[in-house]
């Protein structure tokens, strides 16, 4: 085995899976987080359950590969097949411990933009929009976002807040009546950024194997704070990799170019 015996995406799935605690209700969302729930449920969190916004509740990983949360293997064996508003109702009651949101652009306070780069009336880039992202950001108890680590994606201030994080800093969410605690971590292709308890500005918590603090700071669009005890992100274990490759046998999500 070479040094890089896993891809950046496989490491991100393993890191995301470790964010899920046993017994939690997780809003699993799309793409890599769908795999993360399967890995967590198969390893350290056998009691974790997953909600999917189209109207599903599961307590076990799907039997087959998922290209979307609506693929038949995710429906077969579900505990509950229902409507979207019922799933959102649970989240609005504070029942969802952890949500995952895919990000296009994030800023130092964890605000996400998945709508417009540039002026919304004449955007430079039109991104697909919120989906359920804004709902998760506002209503789940805590959330994690995953994205490629590039200066154009990790920016000083997003131009459009689709899914609010910590707004302009500590206390912003409480002042504006948002229910949940906001972003807990930004998991990137290079590192894991975390936030102080109570909200505020992201800081560098761990750097993925093979990368350096300087490299991460250079790839970040603001002057990224570094935790005094910054450490290396633990690599995926053989067990985690085995589950990831069982759930994504062709590398559709984890071995893309």
């Amino acid at each position: 085995m070479s040094e890089a015996a896993y891809t950046a995406q496989e490491l991100m799935v393993a890191v995301a899976a470790r964010e899920i605690r046993d017994g939690e209700l997780v809003f699993a969302g799309m793409r890599l987080p769908v795999l993360a729930y399967g890995v967590a449920r198969s390893t350290h969190a056998p009691g974790a359950r997953a909600l999917y916004e189209l109207g599903l509740l599961r307590d076990q990983p799907p039997a087959g590969f998922l290209g979307t949360m609506g693929d038949p293997p995710n429906v077969a064996g579900a505990l509950w097949a229902t409507r979207l508003s019922n799933v959102m109702a649970l989240m609005a009651q504070g029942e969802v411990d952890l949500g995952f949101i895919g990000g296009a652009e994030v800023d130092r306070f964890g605000n996400l933009n998945t709508s417009y780069v540039g002026d919304p009336r004449r955007p430079r880039t039109k991104l697909p929009g919120s989906g359920g992202g804004a709902d998760i950001a506002i209503l789940s108890r805590r959330w994690v976002t995953l994205m490629a680590h590039e200066p154009r994606r990790l920016v000083e201030r997003v131009s459009y807040v689709t899914s609010p994080g910590h707004g302009d800093g500590e206390g912003w969410r409480q002042r504006h009546g948002l229910l949940g605690g906001g972003p807990a971590a930004i998991v990137t292709t290079l590192a894991v950024l975390r936030f102080p308890a109570g909200g505020g500005e992201a800081f560098l918590a761990t750097v993925h194997p093979g990368h350096t603090v300087e490299e991460v700071r250079a790839a970040t669009g603001w002057d990224l704070r570094v935790a005094p005890d910054v450490a290396e992100t633990p690599a995926p274990t053989a067990e985690e990799l085995a589950h990831i490759r069982r759930l994504d046998p062709d590398g559709f999500w984890t071995r893309r170019g």
Partner: protein
Amino acid sequence: MAEAVARFVPDGATVAMGTALEPAIPFAAGHELIRQGRRDLTLVGPISDSLFDQLVGAGCVARICAAWVGNVSEGLGHCYRRATERDEPRPIEVRDHSNFSISLALWAAAWGSPYLPTRTLLGSDIVTTNPDLVLADGAVLVRPVAPDVTILHVQRADAGGHAHAWGPLGISEEAGLAARRVILSDPNRVLLPESKVAAVVHEPGGAHPAPLQGHWRRDHAFHRAYAERSRTAEGYRAWLDEWVLSVPDRAAYLARLDLEPLRVRRRLPSVPVDYGDE
């Protein structure tokens, strides 16, 4: 399908589709709208996978009222980008929602309520750019969105309009109740009262490339090919010619595909229920 679309979806109509999110998307109905050259539609839905992108690229759409327009497994919607960034093939208005708020907008219409208050979207710029959302008294007021017609793809229906749909329903119930008319395209648990149903179309395979529980898996490769070809306007036009404009109907479309690898084979019937009454 051609008759149902011609009779019940005029130019300028507000149309809800793709209401179960990724599964059961009525692609066949969308393609018929394109073939009939429908114009100035307002499309309502949560995510729609690539269907809304295709309709935008064909110039059928004046307004999008949705939470997300793209391609679920591939990312960006290239026709949606060209329309919003460069007015190609025509300018469109976007009224952004989240999945929860578009559901609430349809429930508001279904219940005849002037608005529904919620705490979702507090702190999001979506409230500032969508005039159908108003910030008041620490809540977001979601104004009703009432489709002229909702198009649903279900597993089975009778001629009277009693439909059974199973698997996750997304926002199908509120979209159906809020609509003036509903078109059901076939491949019980009656979804909606028959008084809401304007037309029942037997259209097997009408959701391809979307999945349908108990029948079809999602055609990931087809979605990927569409994403790659629609990167340019020329590529999109060639795709549209091949898969929509040069086929007369859904049966001809399906005849060009080998769907057998996508057919669901493992049967998982549910336990029957008993309505015994004496």
